[in-house]
Each structure stands twice: as structure tokens, then as C-alpha cells.
């Protein structure tokens, strides 16, 4: 396999997750969270995306280090 899709995809979710989480942190308790029923969904979901991105990147790195099967 040439390029492991998990690498760019993981990086993208790391960036998007970070953007959302930081934005959520900065706007905590803003009136706009009434829409999401009082949850700071940017913060929670951003962190989740960040973790998913990190898992993808780790998996891609592991696969590239493993000897070619």
C-alpha cells in the first residue's frame, strides 16, 4: 500500500477536533449553546474527534513500522 489513508484522515480529525475544542472552551456558557440543549457540544465533540484522529494516526504509524507482511 502506498499511502495509508489513516494518516491524512487522522491528521484532519486532529486539526478539526482541536479547532472545535478550543473554540468550545473559549465560548463556554455562550447563549448559542441553548441550541444544543445547554451542552457545550463544540468542546465535547471536538475532544472526541481529537481522540479519534489520534487513534487513526497511531494505527497508521504502527502499520508503517511493522515489517511488510
Amino acid at each position: 500500500m502506498n499511502l495509508d489513508i489513516r494518516m491524512p484522515m487522522g491528521l484532519m480529525f486532529l486539526v478539526v477536533g482541536a479547532v472545535l475544542a478550543v473554540f468550545g472552551f473559549a465560548t463556554n456558557a455562550d447563549a448559542m449553546y441553548e441550541r444544543s440543549l445547554g451542552h457545550n457540544i463544540n468542546l465535547y465533540w471536538g475532544l472526541l474527534l481529537f481522540v479519534i484522529g489520534a487513534i487513526m494516526v497511531v494505527m497508521a504509524r504502527r502499520a508503517s513500522k511493522a515489517p511488510a507482511a
Binding site: M1, I5, M9, F13, V16, M32, L37, I41, L49
Partner: protein, 567 residues
């Protein structure tokens, strides 16, 4: 209906665009031969092919349309998944992939050439090529229209940006680019829509409350209380459900003819499996795809059900109205705007954008392959070098996108022509599965049989459409243009029955003509193309959870359980 986007939303959208282009750019150096460009060098792992396999089908029109159906018809919409997709996906993986992948055909039309003859391939290749360009254009048009209404984006700007981005990444990375972006889109849709469903369910008060609200919806529309939340219980008679269909039409028309015709023969999806890195991976592709596919109703149909429940609860103010009816196509945009703050809104719209673009990209990659191998190499310039065809593939990509753009603009002017074309494609597609089934499982089927069988099936579809009319419809594009012999309770019912007639006509005609004509291929030539002449694949070393038959049994069992749970 307007959604206000802020800086953070645009940042997320731009990050996505950057990665999409970046993936194309990173793949560029791996594209050296025609096989790399058109077939991803047959080097993609099964799980990637599997996710691309369902994403290629999950264009934005499907996301928006399924949510609209969820609101309009309730959980019966899931028949398009649990009946209309899973069995066909299991079938193509277990029984048909050995011939597609094993024959080394580079496209579905090419399989028809190997199995039958040149004219059958030509018929399929040309109709398919026209269809893909058309679908890609319609996808572009829908994107530009929706983003114009929602975000106030200029129509030309939306067309331009989506065309350029799709062009750049396919031009550089070929099929691999398209597949990778489909996988990306899969995760974006799941991660972008899941919070929407969770918030919606919480807002309405959980599943039980949703069921209670939807029974009000059902009773309000004059149906039994459970109609919106029970998928089979009200299919005894077409009058008992809002789809206007009965169980036989659902099972035969949708579950057998339309579903097998699409999932087992449409090169757009089959191409994803052909790119797999081994026969085993190719066979697993649709089976892996079936697992998320059967869970998608929770992501795409449930939002519609929640929206219509909210609409009733809010005394008809949740969804915008159009001609006295809720505008069902606005379900997804309304839900996004209602529940997502800035930030998440950017993610949701990016997911929608991604599904529009991969809807286009999937069509463009299928088009450039069929054009280059099945039309250009076969009829225009045969016998050239691989490099020559690779260049042609690049040119076809540009050409395919330009034609799509032209289609998108045509759609703004000539709505009737577009509807008419869509109808013609439906006629051509309806009988296809009979041709493939006989080709793969009956070695006596001949080239003349296949070709004239297909024509007969297409004609039967047109005749059936011309002689019947759905209830309360005007004669014309909806049918009845040859006189009205039968009135169907709904357009969907007419659709299902058109498919059943077309398939049956093609099946019978192919058999009769094959019997009357001489076999045009020897048994030796048909080896690897027909079931009875192909050695069975034995792989005792494969662990049970990777064996196609085992996976097939698991996904079928799961689909049965889902049908029973929501009976």
C-alpha cells in the same frame, strides 16, 4: 431558511478542502500506469474499499432524500436498507465478485464483453457513461442550489469550487483519490450527523416519546398509530401506509430487482471492490460495507422522523411549508440549524459538502474508466500504449467534469428534460440484473440473447410505464402516455412494478433467444466467467471471520433481526 456561518465554520470547511487536495497531491507520485489511475493498482485493503463502497452510494441527495422519506413515510424508509441493500450486497460479495475480480475485467461493461459480446458491452458502456455524467451534474446542481438557499452562496461559485476541487484530486490521484475521499466522507457523515441525532432524540424525550409523537403524526394523516414506527406491520395493503406499497412489491420490486440491479451490476460501486488488493479482499468489500450500511437508517432516516415529530409538537412551525405541505427536503438543513451552534455547524455542513463532492467524484472516476477502456480503447483508438490511455484518462476526467458542469446548468433551464432522462435511465437499468444473473449462472446464455433480452426488458419497462399511472397524477412524465390500463396507489408502487416487469421480460427473452441462437463462446472461453465452469475457490487457511460465506451469513442474520425488531 437561512443558516448563518461564522469564521470558525469556514475554518473547518477550509481544513477539509486542504486535506482533500493534499490527499490527491500525496497520491500523485504513485500514479504511474493506467492500472494505478483506473484501478488503484488493485492495491487497496478490504476495509477501505468497503467504506468507499457505501460512501459512493451515500451522496448528499441520498442523505437529504432519506431524511425527507423518514419524515414523509417513517421507518418504512428502512426497507431501502434492510431489504433493498443488505441481501444484494451479501450476494455480490459471495457469488458475483469471483467473476468480476477473477476475470480481470477492468470494468463491468468489459465483463459483459468477455462473457457475451461486443454489442452487449457497447450498449451497457454507452448508457452507463451518459448516466454517470448526468448524475454528477445533477449532484453539482443540487449542491449549488442548496448552498444558495442555505448560505446565500452564489450559484456559479458553488459549481466552480466543487468542480475544481473534484477535478484537482481525481486528476492527481485517480481512483485512489476518489476512494480515499469517500472514506473521509464516511467518517465525516458519521461524526457530523451522530450528535444531531443524539440531540434531537434528547430534545423529543427519547425513543418512547418519539414513538408517541409519531403515532400522532400517523393518526393525523389518517393511518394506524404505529405506521411511522413499524416497517412491515402495515404493508398488507397499499392503502394502509403512506408509501402506497404492499409487501410483495417491496420484496420483489425493491428487494430483488432494483436492489440487485444496482448493487450487483452498477460499475460505480463494483469499481470500489475491483480496486481491492486480493480476491478475498474484493469479496469482503461489500460484506464489510453491509455492516455500517444496515446501521445508517439511524443516521439518515431517524433525523427525518425526529423532525416530523418536532413539526407536529411545534404545531407546524418546525419545518418550512410549501404548498400546504411541510418541505421534507429541508429536514437536514433545518435540523442542523436548529441544534448545532457555530463550530459544529461547520462540521455538519462540511459533511454535507463532502457527500456532494464524493457523489460527483464517484461518477467521474467510473466515467473516465468506462470512457477510456470501453469506448475509446474499443471503438476509437485500440492498440495504443498504456501511457496513451493514461493520458486519455486525464483528459476524460477534465471532459467528464466539463460535461457535468454543462448538465448542472442544463438542469437549471430544462427541468422536464432532466426528469425525462432520469426516466429513460430507469428503463435501461431495470432489466440489467437478469442479464448478469443468466450470464454468471447459465452457461448457455448467448450474446444475442443478452443483447436482445436487454432491449426487450428496457422496452417492457417503457411500455409498463406508458400504460399505467399512479393515483392523482397527470398523464405524461409520470406515466399513462399510451393509455391507462392500471392505476397504482403511488409512484413508488408503479416504480417497483415497472422493475418487476422489465426484469421478467428480460429474463424470459434472454432464455428464449439464447435457446434459439448458437452459443458464441466456447466453454474454455467462459472459464472464470460462469459459475459452473469456474473452479471453486477453496481457502481453508482463511480464519472464519474473514470468509465471505460466514460474513454473509452474519450480515443477513443481522438484517433479519433488525427487520423483526422494527416489524
Amino acid at each position: 431558511m437561512r443558516i448563518e456561518l461564522h469564521a470558525v465554520d469556514y475554518v473547518i470547511l477550509c481544513v477539509y478542502f486542504l486535506f482533500v487536495i493534499g490527499i490527491g497531491w500525496a497520491l500523485k507520485k504513485y500514479v504511474k500506469t493506467g492500472a494505478d489511475f483506473f484501478l488503484s493498482g488493485r492495491a487497496i485493503p478490504a476495509w477501505v474499499c468497503g467504506l468507499a463502497f457505501i460512501s459512493a452510494n451515500l451522496g448528499a441527495q441520498e442523505v437529504i432524500g432519506m431524511a425527507a422519506s423518514g419524515a414523509k413515510y417513517g421507518i418504512m424508509t428502512s426497507h431501502f436498507y434492510w431489504v433493498g441493500a443488505i441481501p444484494a450486497m451479501a450476494f455480490v460479495g459471495i457469488f458475483m465478485m469471483p467473476f468480476y475480480y477473477g476475470s480481470k475485467a477492468r470494468s463491468v461493461p468489459e465483463y459483459l464483453k468477455l462473457r457475451y459480446d461486443e454489442k452487449t458491452r457497447g450498449f451497457n458502456a454507452i448508457s452507463f457513461a451518459v448516466m454517470t455524467v448526468f448524475s454528477s451534474g445533477i449532484s453539482m446542481y443540487a449542491l449549488a442550489k442548496l448552498f444558495g438557499i442555505l448560505l446565500g452562496w452564489n450559484f456559479h461559485f458553488s459549481i466552480f469550487i466543487s468542480a475544481v476541487i473534484v477535478l484537482v484530486y481525481i486528476f492527481m490521484g485517480g481512483l485512489t483519490s476518489a476512494i480515499y475521499n469517500e472514506v473521509l466522507q464516511f467518517f465525516l457523515i458519521v461524526l457530523g450527523f451522530l450528535p444531531l441525532v443524539l440531540l434531537g432524540l434528547k430534545d423529543i424525550g427519547g425513543w418512547d416519546q418519539l414513538v408517541a409523537k409519531l403515532s400522532e403524526v400517523a393518526v393525523g394523516n389518517g393511518y394506524a398509530a404505529g405506521t411511522w414506527t413499524e416497517s412491515w406491520a402495515h404493508t398488507g395493503s397499499p392503502a394502509a401506509n403512506p408509501m402506497g406499497v404492499e409487501w410483495f412489491g417491496v420484496v420483489m420490486g425493491l428487494g430483488f430487482v432494483l436492489s440487485f440491479g444496482y448493487w450487483c451490476t452498477d460499475f460505480l460501486v463494483v469499481q470500489r471492490a475491483m480496486a481491492a488488493n486480493s480476491m478475498a479482499a474484493a469479496r469482503r468489500t461489500p460484506l464489510i460495507a453491509a455492516i455500517p450500511k444496515m446501521l445508517f437508517p439511524a443516521l439518515v432516516i431517524l433525523p427525518g422522523m425526529i423532525a416530523i415529530a418536532m413539526h407536529v409538537q411545534s404545531k407546524g412551525t418546525f419545518l418550512p411549508m410549501e404548498d400546504g405541505q411541510p418541505n421534507y427536503n429541508m429536514v437536514i438543513p433545518v435540523m442542523l440549524g436548529h441544534y448545532f451552534p457555530q463550530g459544529m455547524l461547520g462540521l455538519g455542513l462540511t459533511a454535507l459538502m463532502a457527500s456532494f463532492m464524493s457523489g460527483m467524484a464517484g461518477n467521474v472516476t467510473a466515467f473516465n474508466t468506462v470512457w477510456t477502456y470501453d469506448i475509446y480503447q474499443s471503438y476509437i483508438r485500440p492498440g495504443q500504449s498504456d501511457k496513451h490511455y493514461l493520458t486519455m484518462g486525464h483528459i476524460a476526467t477534465v471532459g467528464g467534469i466539463l460535461l457535468s458542469v454543462a448538465c448542472a446548468y442544463a438542469a437549471t433551464q430544462f427541468n422536464n428534460i432532466m426528469d425525462f432522462l432520469q426516466l429513460v435511465f430507469a428503463f435501461v437499468n431495470a432489466p440489467l440484473f437478469a442479464t448478469f444473473m443468466l450470464g454468471m449462472f447459465w452457461r448457455r446464455a448467448t450474446g444475442h440473447g443478452a443483447f436482445f433480452g436487454l432491449l426487450t426488458g428496457t422496452l417492457a419497462a417503457a411500455l409498463h410505464h406508458g400504460l399505467t399511472l399512479p393515483k392523482d397524477c397527470l398523464v405524461g412524465i409520470k406515466g399513462g402516455w399510451l393509455g391507462s390500463m392500471h392505476t397504482y396507489p403511488s409512484e413508488m408502487a408503479q416504480n417497483f412494478w415497472t422493475a418487476i416487469f422489465a426484469w421478467t421480460a428480460c429474463f424470459v427473452a434472454t432464455i428464449l433467444i439464447s435457446m434459439a441462437t448458437r452459443a458464441n463462446k466456447t466453454d474454455e472461453e467462459l472459464k472464470g466467467l460462469v459459475y459452473s465452469l469456474t473452479p471453486k475457490i477453496k481457502d481453508p487457511d482463511t480464519p472464519w471471520h474473514k470468509q465471505p460465506a460466514m460474513l454473509g451469513i452474519i450480515v443477513m442474520a443481522a438484517a433479519v433481526v433488525l427487520n423483526i425488531l422494527f416489524w
